[in-house]
């Protein structure tokens, strides 16, 4: 059996290489960041710019809050068999001054998380199709 292809679960939202990054955008005029990428009208009411740059976002941040999914979420979530509960964190990026939700790295339980904790962004499988492994960003507590 040939090896499965590895590809992003959300094309254009993040890279999947060795140093994976979330791909956002930034308004060229007022410097507001956007995630996911936003390239139409700027959402800042003081700005009417329509010019945006694609920009990779910081790979680390601090936990704003966290929870988990104890039960299998409904479609379009694609669960493994059996379903494995996972933790979820909302993480604040310091430079971009925004909060991004994401799953927490596999095997890390809510008991090892705390508000304010430093985390890194990593890439892990979200689900598999017949010939592909779909990767997604996840948050992982920094080893101190």
């Amino acid at each position: 059996m040939p090896e499965k292809l590895v590809s992003p679960a959300l094309d254009g939202w993040h890279t999947i290489g060795d140093d994976p990054q979330l791909l956002g955008s930034q308004c060229e005029e007022c410097l507001t960041y956007f995630f996911p990428k936003h390239e139409r009208e700027c959402k800042n009411p003081n700005c009417s710019s329509t010019k945006f740059l694609e920009i990779p976002l910081s790979r680390e941040g601090r936990i704003w809050s966290y929870t988990n999914a104890c039960y299998q979420p409904p479609a379009p979530y694609i669960a493994g068999d059996p379903f494995e509960p996972f933790a979820i964190a909302a993480v604040e990026l310091e430079i971009e001054k925004l909060i991004i939700l994401g799953q927490v790295a596999k095997g890390i339980d809510v008991d090892s998380l705390a508000v304010g904790m430093h985390v890194d962004m990593i890439i892990e499988p979200l689900h598999e199709t017949e010939d592909e492994i779909k990767m997604i960003w996840k948050w992982r507590p920094k080893k101190i």
């Binding site: 929870t67 979420p73 979530y77 979820i88």
Partner: protein, 395 residues
């Protein structure tokens, strides 16, 4: 006085999972409100409906649907959609109509029939739709409520027992409300024993979805006087303001907040900003409020709302709860109706149900759940994309 309208009639259809057409609930609530007001249906000159998006085309034109179901009589109609704030927007439309002098007395109405099971987004691969994306990542509605609840625990020291106490308090109040769906008085042990859905929230911390209907008859102060109801409760403020950029709280269904990186931009809280306009319009302060109906989508969210409405200092809501001050008989009863904990959410009816409770309490007709001599009540609710609302009603 110049912005005020009177509430001369209230009506509801009991919340539940009845599985009937939403129009049936709406008509029952409307007829009850008309009877309560003592106003003949044919005298209503404006029908303002909250839309439901789950019941097909008749739900999109709810104002006309209810008017037709009650018997076309040539009134003007309006339909408002703003998720959970739909009822308040429908009320705002009726208030404008009355204050402009275009009509004296109006019916404001909302009703819903909810589908069975999960509310899942449409299928396919649709990364441009934030609602689709978050479900794809396994992020459900309870995820957001749980994030807010956990933050309270880590920042303010709120506990699982506090959250359970809210369910117990609201269930007790709801058991005395003839229109609530759940009549059982749950114990904190039962809440603690229910399965964790999204840590720290358990099944019984999270509200269900329900069928139900609520209706109001509102009129000019002159009209109320004319029919001998000059002491009817008055709507003294309605706020349906949008958030202010940059929103700093992750809100359903988004995967990220706004960025506050631009010069002169700060993170803002939508829930905290929403009541400011209402207090200004009513010319009162939070300390003047006697009781509140707030959107307890989760138990913990009730505490957030108390602080957002200025009824408790930031981080202090749980201490009021522990002291019993938010129960009926306390200093500031919260959700004396039983709240969403006892009703479950019937989207286009919910904001109106909150106002029905305010009016019923202010008239001293709440029976076993009556608050002692209230003068001013406030509501608060929120929908997707910041369509929240808050309404102040006073005697």
């Amino acid at each position: 006085m110049k912005n005020e309208v009177a509430i001369i009639g209230v009506g509801m259809h009991p919340w539940g999972k009845w599985g009937k057409h939403f129009t049936e609930y709406g008509v029952a609530a409307a007829r009850m409100a008309l009877q309560d007001a003592g106003v003949p249906w044919k005298d209503i000159r404006f029908v303002s409906g909250g839309a439901t998006i789950r019941c097909g085309y008749p739900g999109y034109v709810a104002g006309a649907t209810f008017a037709q179901a009650l018997g076309w009589q040539g009134a003007e109609v309006n339909t408002s959609y703003a998720a959970c704030a739909s009822g308040s927007q429908a009320l705002a439309a009726a208030r404008n109509k009355i204050l402009s002098g275009a009509c004296e007395v109006a019916l404001v109405i909302g009703a819903d029939t909810t589908p069975k099971g999960f509310l899942a987004p449409a299928g396919g691969y649709r990364p441009e739709d934030p609602d689709w994306v978050r479900f794809y990542l396994g992020i459900t509605n309870p995820t957001y409520f749980a994030l807010y609840a956990r933050r309270r625990m880590d920042l303010y020291g709120d506990t699982l027992d506090d959250f359970a106490a809210i369910k117990v308090k609201n269930a007790k109040a709801g058991s005395k409300n003839p229109f609530s769906r759940y009549k059982k008085c749950f114990t904190s042990e039962e809440v603690a024993g229910s399965a964790v859905v999204a840590d720290p929230l358990r099944l019984m911390d999270i509200c269900a979805t329900s069928d139900g209907a609520a209706a109001l008859i509102v009129c000019s102060l002159e009209y109320a006087k004319k029919i001998g109801k000059s002491d009817a409760p008055r709507v003294v403020a309605i706020s349906t303001t949008t958030p202010v950029f940059a929103s700093g709280i992750v809100e359903m269904p988004d995967i990220a907040t706004d960025s506050a990186a631009a010069q002169g931009i700060e993170h803002q809280s939508f829930r905290e900003n929403l009541p400011k306009k209402a207090y200004e319009e009513a010319g009162i302060e939070p300390k003047d409020v006697d009781f509140a109906e707030v959107y307890d989508l989760s138990t913990a969210l009730e505490l957030d709302w108390m602080e957002d409405l200025g009824l408790a200092s930031r981080g202090e809501a749980a201490s009021l709860l522990r002291a019993g001050e938010t129960s009926i008989g306390g200093k500031i009863p919260i959700n004396a109706s039983g709240g969403l904990a006892s009703f479950g959410e019937a989207v286009p009816a919910q904001a109106l149900a909150q106002i029905c409770e305010l009016a019923t309490q202010l008239r001293g007709q709440a029976g076993e759940r009556q608050i002692e001599n209230p003068k001013v009540g406030i509501t608060a609710n929120q929908g997707l994309f910041g369509h929240g609302s808050t309404v102040i009603v006073a005697t």
